[in-house]
């Protein structure tokens, strides 16, 4: 076994929450080993402690307890000596948006004291690796999300570090750029023999690492080769075919309640299941025949996670007055919608239609124009051109009555943090014109349905992440809207919370609520009735998940994943664009 560059033992770190004196155990006895020349991945949902662990190694934080050696040095005692020898790319890398690509690179070279001779040799390597050579004159602020991350990586690598620490380098990056970033990282490890530690909340990325440390709520669930985590689910993974005319989504929702089931997700029209016990050959589940499949890393992760946490209860939302049975016509109609900000066209002739009672997904990377489209639909932004109808009217110009038929949950928690859970609900109930007995009834309903009763008097800003989202959902459903808009509702949520969230959405749709949701998790498209893939302000493809997947049939004839379908669609569109250019 290669020498280890990082050795951490029983690391602990507690943060005090401001104001209420509560504490957060960011790290609760984590040990870690990073071997020279290897790629190690820190995997886990938001709040698992990944960033804290990386910051300890970079000498930016000191642990409360435990021992840590990075390149043989204690980073808490001699941070500068460690920092001189490592490269660290934080989640939000400090690029100067008003400087060009070259100027940013020069700045970091100056900061690290890289001599001109070394630069002449290093720059071409970095440019070739990141494919940024064509853009050296462009301002960093005008790069796409993926290119910014690549530039950040180039700036980190401007002087050859002995150890590279990457904190979620692929978060918010489109699948295409994500793949390119991983090619770079794997090249660094394989060809240049660099030791890399990277954190990620994408479970599929973990499979690329030599070793993974699976973190959850400050504790290590496993540290091993990724295949070993996958093997935990060996013999437990099966797929079920819901049969023609039945939706995979409702079957999946039903199966999640089964105590024998650890995990169930809709996958390519089928339902993928991880069972608590080994599957028997020829076995049937819910009256359907189960076909065994190769387990994935995520399956193993879910088995580990379920050992710690149960599925959220009470996710089966019942509206008291569900919307009237679907009238004819579309809930949302968008034709040739355009939005320009000065020179920049954020939304470029977008058209789509959402039927009543449908779950419609807008998919795409950050900056694709999803949120801008969304804001126009909700009447928050006037369009520059085109036509849009929500529940038969243009919300932007229609009155309060039209808005009363919509619910909206923003990407960021946007209720009043200083107010308690109950006060927030009271305010939004009044905003939607609920009063008297009705108002009390609806507030009680929200507290009950979202399991917020115990937190009624808690300032909503102090709620744990998952509860904040439930409160936001509760507030948006107080008036039982016909159409629910959800902007990136699952970003940053752990896999369990994400499954609970989609359960709620599924039950709402079954009761006739039209749901429009944006996401950059491609797998989540499987929960939607129909999706539209957006990139560069345009809709590149739309249809049912099965139709979209047909854009990319895997070479071996297997069902393509939504992610590879997305990449195929975007690549085809970009290739077409390049061909059209003289």
């Amino acid at each position: 076994m290669a020498a280890s560059l990082v050795t951490g033992k029983d690391l602990r770190k507690v943060f005090r929450a401001p104001g209420n004196g509560g504490e957060v155990r960011a790290l609760d006895g984590v040990s870690i080993e990073v071997c020279a020349g290897e790629l190690t991945a820190l995997v886990g949902p938001d709040g698992a402690g990944k960033t804290t662990l990386i910051r300890l190694m970079a000498g930016l934080l000191a642990a409360d307890a435990g021992s840590l050696r990075v390149l043989g040095i204690d980073p808490a005692i001699e941070p500068q000596r460690v920092q001189d020898r490592i490269g660290y790319m934080p989640q939000k890398f400090g690029l100067y948006e008003d400087l060009s690509v070259q100027e940013n690179l020069d700045l970091y070279a100056d900061l690290h004291g890289v001599c001109p001779q070394e630069r002449r040799q290093r720059y071409p390597q970095l440019m070739e690796m990141t494919d940024l050579g064509r853009f050296t004159g462009r301002l960093a602020g005008q790069l796409s999300g993926g290119m910014k991350q690549k530039l950040g990586l180039a700036c980190t690598l401007v002087r050859s570090p002995e150890l590279l620490l990457l904190d979620e380098p692929t978060v918010g990056v489109d699948p295409l750029s994500r793949r390119e970033l991983w090619v770079i990282v794997e090249h660094l490890v394989r060809e240049e023999g660099l030791t890399v530690l990277t954190s990620t909340s994408y479970l599929d990325e973990a499979e690329k690492a030599a070793r993974v440390l699976v973190l959850h709520e400050g504790r290590a669930l496993a540290q091993s080769e990724p295949a070993q985590v996958t093997r935990i689910a060996a013999g437990r993974s099966v797929v079920l075919d819901p049969g023609p005319g039945n939706s995979a989504r409702s079957l999946q929702a039903r199966l999640l309640d089964d105590p024998e089931v650890i995990d169930a997700v809709p996958d390519g029209g089928l339902v993928r299941l991880v069972r608590a016990a080994q599957a028997q050959p020829g076995e049937t589940i819910a009256g359907l025949s189960a076909t065994p499949v190769e387990p994935r890393f995520e399956d193993g992760f879910m088995v580990l996670l379920r050992g710690r946490a149960a599925h959220e209860a009470g996710v089966d939302i019942r509206l008291q007055r569900p919307p009237a049975p679907a009238e004819a016509g579309a809930a949302v109609e968008v034709r040739d919608l355009v939005k320009r900000f000065g020179e920049f066209t954020a939304v470029n002739h977008v058209s789509f239609e959402v039927r009543r009672g449908e779950i419609f997904g807008l998919l795409g990377p950050n900056g694709a124009g999803k949120t801008t489209t969304f804001r126009m639909l909700c009447g928050l932004l006037p369009p520059s051109g085109g036509m849009l109808r929500v529940a038969g009217v243009d919300v932007g110009s229609a009155g309060a009555a039209a808005r009363a038929r919509l619910g909206y949950v923003a990407q960021k928690f946007s209720l009043y943090g200083a107010l308690t859970v109950r006060e927030n609900l009271e305010f939004f109930a009044s905003a939607y014109g609920l009063r008297g007995a009705m108002r009390r009834e609806r507030i009680d309903w929200a507290l009950r349905q979202f399991d917020l009763g115990a937190h009624g008097r808690t300032a909503s800003g102090q709620l744990p992440g998952g509860f904040k989202q439930r409160l936001a959902m509760g507030a948006a459903l107080l008036h039982e809207p016909e159409i629910l808009f959800l902007d990136e509702p699952t970003s940053g949520a752990d896999p369990l919370a994400r499954r609970a969230f989609w359960r709620r959405i599924t039950t709402l749709a079954e009761q006739g609520v039209t749901v429009i949701v944006t996401t950059h998790f491609m797998q989540e498209a499987e929960y939607c009735d129909r999706i539209a893939i957006m990139d560069g302000g345009q809709v590149l493809a739309q249809g049912s998940p099965a139709q979209i997947r047909r854009h990319a049939l895997a070479a071996d004839g297997r069902q393509a994943s939504m992610e590879s379908a997305f990449i195929a669609v975007v690549e085809a569109a970009r290739a077409g664009e390049a061909a059209a250019r003289p």
Binding site: R375, G379, A401, F413, S430, Y432, G433
Partner: protein, 370 residues
Amino acid sequence: MLESLLRVIALTRKELLAVLKDRRARNSLLLPPILQCLLFGYAATYDLNHVPYVVLDRSQSIASQALLSSFDGTGLFERVANLRRQRQVRDYIDDRRALLAIEIPDDFARRLEAGKGADVQIIADGRNSNTAGTALGYAQSVVNAFNSDWRARHGLPGPPVTVEARAWYNPNLMTRWDMLPGLIGTLTMLQTLMLTAMSVAREREEGTFDQLLVTPFRPPEIMAGKALPSMLIGIVQATGVLLIAQLWFRVPFQGSFLTLYAGLTLFVLAAVGIGLVVSALCQNMQQAMLFSFILIMPFALLSGLTTPISNMPRSLQYFTLVNPLRYAIDIAQRVYLEGAGAGVLMPDLWPLAAIAAVTLAGASWMFRRL
């Protein structure tokens, strides 16, 4: 209509809760006006109660002694030195040991005895023109008193004209008396304007403004819901200053509270209107804060609180016409000190109403466009 009203009440309640639940926000709204009021009440005064002076008495006569003792007898003038040489005067004035220097010529007594006029030279430190002017005024009145006294004692006829000065509404011409009522508006203005501007900017920064806009709230309702709590808080602050002026500094209140509060309500409405315009222009709290400060300086300087508006250059006087603080100070001082009624205050009230109408309409228009 009822729906609208209920929504505005809900928003007002939410705003008040958000401000009053936060201990820091609560303190920053109530403590500064009280502290500033005490500070201004004690520190901001043009009244002189201690004038150090030096004397170069070349006469060394009974007459000169009599004149000087009438200076010393006021309790206001303190003789810090008797000088021998003219040169020394400069030393005392330069290092501010004396504010005035009184030079009595050697023929002073002789000329007086002869029934002729005598000259006394008073040199003042003009580096602070305000103080120097006041001190010279005091000195003049001491000399006047000495003159009448001398004439009476020597059987000479009195001067043909004497001035019998009496100041109405502030008999002792105490700065505090006009300063404190002026503060009722001044201290309220900054906080009301900033509170309003920040409350929208904060919502915008935290993303809650979008959440608010997708509810049935109409822009005018949001404005009303933002304006009311700021107005309420502004009125409470004004009341705090009023109470301190009356109960702590004992400046007697002559007018009607109804008139005063009617004027104040119009004034905070105008201030809130300006705050809403600022908030419509600003994307975040930092901008809102900066913008408020940029506005508040000229508003305070050109309000007439410290320097009379009639002394300002004509072009600046025109600017004061759109300054709500100018009218608020006038209203507060006149109601407080002279007991003016609403009728005579009309020239102050209607401009406030006009400023409020224009800013509120402007803010409403800008909100609609965002």
